[in-house]
């Protein structure tokens, strides 16, 4: 302890105190303040840049999501439209088919009706013809063989036989 105190020089202590105070003041003023300020500025600048980059990335993501949504919507719309078109087409086809069926049915009916009519007309004509023919036959028979009753009956029976056949 004694050697320690003996080694201690109050003069040097005073001088170094003054010099150190001056050094600290000068260093703080001319070096540390500007250095630390610029370092902090730079750090905050880097932080801001990073944050901005992050924001931009997020925005990009949002945009992409938006785009995807739009595409999806468009696709859905297109699908819906196509479906509608298909439905309309199917409906039209089925309606056309129905119409055609109806028309053919009507045509067939009409044809059948006219066939029946024709048949009946033909039958009627045939009947008329048969009647005329029979009348003619009858006339001629009557003219020729009315004298013989038996023949007459035979004749009538023959004719009737023929007639009922039809």
């Amino acid at each position: 302890m004694e050697t320690l105190l003996n080694d201690f020089s109050p003069g040097l202590f005073a001088v170094s105190t003054i010099l150190l105070l001056a050094l600290i003041a000068l260093m703080v003023k001319f070096a540390w303040k500007p250095i630390l300020n610029s370092l902090e500025e730079r750090e905050s600048g880097i932080e801001n840049a990073l944050a901005a980059a992050e924001n931009a990335r997020k925005e990009m993501q949002n945009l992409q999501a938006d785009n995807e949504k739009l595409v999806k919507e468009a696709r859905a719309e297109r699908d819906a439209m196509m479906k509608e078109a298909r439905d309309i087409r199917d409906k039209m086809i089925s309606e056309a088919k129905e119409d055609a069926k109806e028309v053919t049915a009507a045509l067939i009916e009409k044809a059948q009706a006219s066939i029946v009519q024709e048949k009946q007309a033909a039958l009627a004509e045939i009947k008329k013809n048969v009647a005329e023919l029979s009348i003619g036959i009858a006339e001629s028979v009557i003219k020729k063989e009315l004298s013989n009753k038996k023949d007459q009956l035979e004749l009538v029976e023959d004719i009737l036989k023929e007639v009922t056949l039809n």
Binding site: L4, D7, F8, S9, P10, G11, L12, F13, A14, V15, S16, T17, L19, L20, A22, L23, I24, L26, M27, V28, F30, A31, W32, K33, P34, I35, L36, S38, L39, R42
Partner: protein
């Protein structure tokens, strides 16, 4: 431009070297050596004296000395001696002591007589013409004076101070024009960041560290560069001067005492949560710890580490002379070289470590003083 600068630098250095050599060649002193080898340092006691002399501050800047024709010649330059004596301020150049360090050369100024003993300047009592010593080698008829001399340590402080100012103001200037410094400033930037982010910020806390970073940075670089300068052949031992380390420690003490919060002082003087009877005892212990032990450990640690480092390095270099008889010239020189080389490497590490520890502990003490106790407990 650059070539011109370099030439100027070279001329300047050459001029200084020439000046000091010429100056000292003429200044060699003839009388003081009572031994016949011309003052060579080659015995064990001489080596011991030489090392102990180096550890102390000195009043002149001597780089080395050599002997020619039995005369001791010193290379270096004298420094001004500034004394506050019983007659007021006295100044003269240290060359007037003629490198004498045992009180034989007496300098007379303003009717007062001065002698230098072991790097301390004594004012001789009235009517005394030569200095007397007691058995402990303390002067009996002289007393110490307040010595404000520009000693070697002061030169070291000034030199390193200007160097730091130059380096870091240049770094500061570089930030004005660019984001990333170039050249030597680029080496300094990470060091500044290291002190700020590894020492100041974690130990003081995010809220307060800005105020103290300037002090911590100054102290860190001051100690570190001076420690490193002490390892060069210039032979500074500034951080091994008790006065300088005491000054640094007292700065830290003042800073953490002044910026201490109310909670800090409350915890020290009237510890809550402790029986009332024990509180005064605790207060004494805590006060002694904060005001004496903390700064004392700071100042003694730095001083002792650096002084011990210098002593060890110089002792290992001195192996060259002290073991010459037993190992031979080559053996002693080789051993000395190998040992001192490795110890010097360790000393480079210690130079950084001591600066780091001093700054770190200062930051820790400041952090303890400024933290919010209400939150901490």
């Amino acid at each position: 431009m650059k070539v011109a600068q370099k030439t100027i630098k070279f001329l300047l250095i050459a001029a200084i070297t020439l000046f000091t050599t010429v100056n000292f060649a003429s200044e060699s002193d003839k009388k003081q050596d009572n031994q016949n080898d011309g003052g060579r340092v080659n015995t064990k006691t001489e080596v011991e004296d030489y090392i102990l002399h180096h550890i102390k501050d000195s009043h002149d800047f001597s780089l080395f000395s050599y002997t020619s024709n039995g005369e001791r010649k010193h290379v270096g330059f004298p420094l001004p001696v500034i004394l506050w004596t019983s007659e007021g301020l006295v100044t003269f150049m240290s060359s007037e002591f003629h490198h004498n360090d045992d009180g034989h050369v007496i300098v007379e100024k303003k009717g007062l007589k001065f002698a230098k003993v072991h790097s301390k300047i004594y004012e001789l009592d009235k009517g005394v013409s030569s200095i007397n010593f007691d058995e402990d080698h303390h002067p009996t008829n002289a007393h110490k004076v307040l010595d404000f001399s520009i000693t070697k340590s002061v030169v070291g402080i000034l030199l390193i101070g200007f160097l730091l100012l130059f380096w870091f103001s240049r770094l500061a200037k570089q930030y004005k024009t660019k984001q990333i410094p170039t050249g030597f400033a680029r080496v300094l930037e990470p060091l500044v960041l290291y002190v700020r982010d590894e020492i100041a910020r974690p130990n003081i806390g995010e809220k307060h560290y800005r105020k103290f970073t300037g002090y911590l940075l100054t102290v860190f670089f001051f100690i570190w560069v001076l420690n490193l300068a002490g390892l060069t052949p210039l032979g500074f031992n500034v951080t091994g001067q008790l006065a300088v380390t005491a000054c640094l420690a007292i700065f830290t003490l003042i800073i953490y005492s002044v910026s201490g919060t109310k909670g800090y002082w409350m915890h020290m003087l009237w510890m809550p949560g402790v029986p009332v009877l024990i509180r005064p005892v605790l207060a004494i212990i805590e006060l002694a710890g904060a005001l004496l032990i903390k700064p004392f450990s700071l100042l003694v640690r730095l001083f002792a580490n650096i002084s011990a480092g210098h002593i060890v390095v110089m002792s290992l270099i001195a192996i060259m002379f002290t073991l010459k008889e037993s190992l031979g010239v080559v053996g002693a020189t080789g051993l000395s070289f190998v040992l001192s080389f490795f110890i010097l490497l360790i000393e480079v590490l210690v130079a950084f470590l001591q600066a780091y520890i001093f700054t770190m502990l200062s930051a820790l003490f400041i952090g303890m003083a400024v933290e919010d106790h209400a939150e901490a407990h």
